[in-house]
């Protein structure tokens, strides 16, 4: 007996006219998770790549794993380095897992239950978009956020950010960032300041941690952190965004498989670098005089531009549009960092804002193309005469 025949046996009560017909979408989700679906189009010739939405999502998850594992280690490391005198890597990983695995579990349980409910209510297929979102949400939260806040943020993001617009593929905003923005404005004391970025910082005496951008916004200089530490990521911050190195590995996977758009990533880096450089010349406050290349490797910029800005649903779709979108995300990110002391990290708001503008960008790119071709046709007709 192989898996296929087990699944076929299980399938019977869910088929049309049977008892559990209503729950077919839920069953379908499990079946297509295991097997490439064998439904084919009835008419005409269709050639489709075997890489469907589920395969795409799994690739993104694989790209996320290095950053996640480093995030788990770093969570433990940041905590233990301030309390214990000696500890092993294993201790750090254990402490990190103890904090982070429950968050991931809550995120998946809440999010997937809502997705299944909506799929059954509407009679749709369950979409697998949540597999990535559900992993992203805990990765961009501060480590000490209570689990029920994670749950509520997830519920808000899935219901208001996604299902209200019609489910996967219809959302205007990136759902993971919607969850973070919700938590950021709803529970500001748990999402900013100097007590939330290191595990247990508010409960244990002598443990404290502030992000580098937070220090800069407060006017202090982050002397204890070198460029190498910022790049490798052994600094306080949201769970999995600290390590630029691990994000780069993820970016390589995404670009190599063609799933993430390198144009958006490169555009973002160019935009942020140029803006950072210009502010370096101005240098009116600590964030302005922070080296432009360091702006790229601290905070959530790298993580956001690689995994969030490239979200194929909410980003711009046209090639020119991707460049414009990416560059504007980069520029806005640095602008928000530098000019708004209440938001030392700008990448979340920058990407959400550009998500809203992405359809407008695409519209004008397409219009420009139509005009260019019209003009070409006119000149061709003239010369033909």
């Amino acid at each position: 007996m192989n898996i296929r025949s087990i699944v076929d046996n299980l399938k019977k009560p869910f088929e049309k006219g049977e008892k559990l017909e209503k729950f077919y979408p839920a069953f379908d989700a499990f079946e297509t998770f295991l097997f490439v679906p064998n439904h084919t189009a009835k008419k005409g010739a269709h050639i489709r790549d075997a890489i469907d939405l589920k395969r795409v999502m799994i690739t993104v998850i694989i790209a996320l794993l290095p950053a996640l594992f480093y995030g788990i280690y770093n969570t433990g490391y940041q905590y233990l380095v301030q309390t214990n005198d000696s500890f092993t890597t294993l201790d750090a990983i254990l402490h990190g897992s103890y904090k982070i695995v429950p968050m991931i579990a809550v995120s998946y349980i809440v999010g997937l239950s809502i997705e299944f409910l909506f799929a059954i209510w509407r009679g749709h297929q369950v979409n697998e978009g949540y597999l990535v979102t559900g992993l992203l949400i805990p990765m961009i939260m501060p480590v000490d956020i209570p689990l029920w806040m994670v749950g509520i943020s997830v519920a808000f993001a899935v219901i208001i950010g996604k299902e209200a617009f019609g489910g996967t593929g219809m959302n205007i905003l990136n759902p993971a960032l919607t969850a973070r923005a919700f938590a950021f404005f709803a529970y500001p004391t748990y999402m900013s300041g100097n007590q939330v970025w290191v595990s247990e910082a508010s409960n244990v005496d002598g443990v404290s941690g502030e992000t580098i951008l937070g220090m800069l916004a407060a006017g202090n200089s982050p002397e204890q952190f070198g460029v190498l530490e910022m790049f490798v990521g052994s600094i306080p911050g949201s769970i999995a965004e600290t390590s630029t190195l691990m994000v780069l590995i993820g970016a390589f996977i995404l670009i190599y498989t063609g799933i993430g758009s390198w144009r958006i990533m490169l555009g973002g880096v160019i935009g942020a670098a140029i803006t950072g450089l210009l502010f370096n010349f101005w240098g009116a406050n600590a964030l302005m005089s922070f080296d432009w290349q360091n702006h790229l490797i601290v905070g959530g910029f790298a993580f956001g531009i690689v995994f969030m800005a490239t979200d194929p649903v909410s980003a711009a779709q046209t090639i020119k549009g991707k460049w414009i979108y990416g560059i504007l995300v980069g520029i806005l990110c640095i602008l928000i960092r530098v000019f708004n002391p209440a938001y030392p990290e700008g990448v979340m708001l920058a990407i959400l804002l550009m998500n809203v503008f992405a359809p407008t960008i695409d519209h004008y790119v397409v219009e420009a193309n139509v005009k260019r071709r019209e003009n070409r046709l006119k000149t061709q007709l003239k010369t033909a005469r």
């Binding site: 209570p146 029920w148 208001i160 209200a164 919700f182 404005f185 709803a186 529970y187 500001p188």
Partner: protein, 229 residues
């Protein structure tokens, strides 16, 4: 039908142009329609600005609702009485004069008898003048209908507006500050153990999202509202 027998006692102009009773089916519909099928906020999407601004707490929302009911009922009646005398070209100015005198009346009344609430509502009582629902009903209904009908229409629309306002304010005050009508309803032991108020509920975007959720729920129950695409 005999004309003499059909004549009904009339008060002012009530029922002069129609053969309906005071609470006939048609007239009842004037009251009930704006509550659901033709709600000024969730269906016509009018008066959103005040729905965002004064729904942080329940008390101002209720006072606002009462004020709007008064203003709409009176202005609808006045304009309906004057409807054959108002020159078409200056009708908007006449509306404004009527509405603003009524609003000034409400404002002074609140300042005299409910100073705290009046301070909380501050500019928004004055801004009833610009509430699109009031002007909209005058233009769309009172200008062409009899006094009694206009009165019912004014009351109905104001209540339809108020119901949504109070509903939004209820959730925003409950979830945003843990209070209802200024009194704490979320018990202390919850705060001590784990609960935290949701700060986003106090910001105006959440009022918009709450209205959106109400529209969503209303439409999934009332199939008449779904546009045929």
């Amino acid at each position: 039908m005999n004309k003499k027998n059909n004549k009904k006692p009339t008060f002012l102009f009530i029922g002069r142009n129609s053969t309906d009773g005071i609470f006939s089916k048609k007239n009842k519909k004037l009251l009930s329609d704006p509550l659901d099928d033709n709600n000024p906020i969730t269906v016509q999407v009018l008066g959103i600005c005040s729905a965002l601004a004064i729904t942080v707490q329940l008390k101002p929302a209720v006072v606002m609702t009462a004020s709007v009911i008064f203003v709409m009922a009176c202005s609808n009646v006045i304009i309906s009485i004057l409807r054959n005398l108002i020159p078409n070209r200056i009708r908007i100015i006449v509306f404004l004069v009527v509405i603003s005198s009524l609003v000034a009346l409400v404002d002074q009344f609140l300042k005299a008898y409910a100073y705290d609430v009046s301070k909380e509502l501050s500019i928004f009582i004055g801004l009833i003048v610009t509430n699109c629902i009031v002007m909209g009903r005058l233009e769309a209904y009172a200008l062409g209908n009899s006094v009694w009908k206009s009165f019912l229409d004014g009351i109905g629309n104001a209540i339809g507006y108020g119901v949504i306002l109070i509903l939004v304010a209820f959730f925003r005050e409950l979830l945003g500050s843990g209070n209802l009508w200024g009194m704490q309803v979320v018990p202390d032991f919850l705060y001590e153990s784990w609960y935290v108020n949701n700060g986003l509920m106090l910001l105006s975007p959440m009022a918009l999202i709450t209205v959106g959720i109400i529209i969503w729920i209303q439409r999934s129950f009332n199939k008449k509202l779904i546009e045929k695409g």
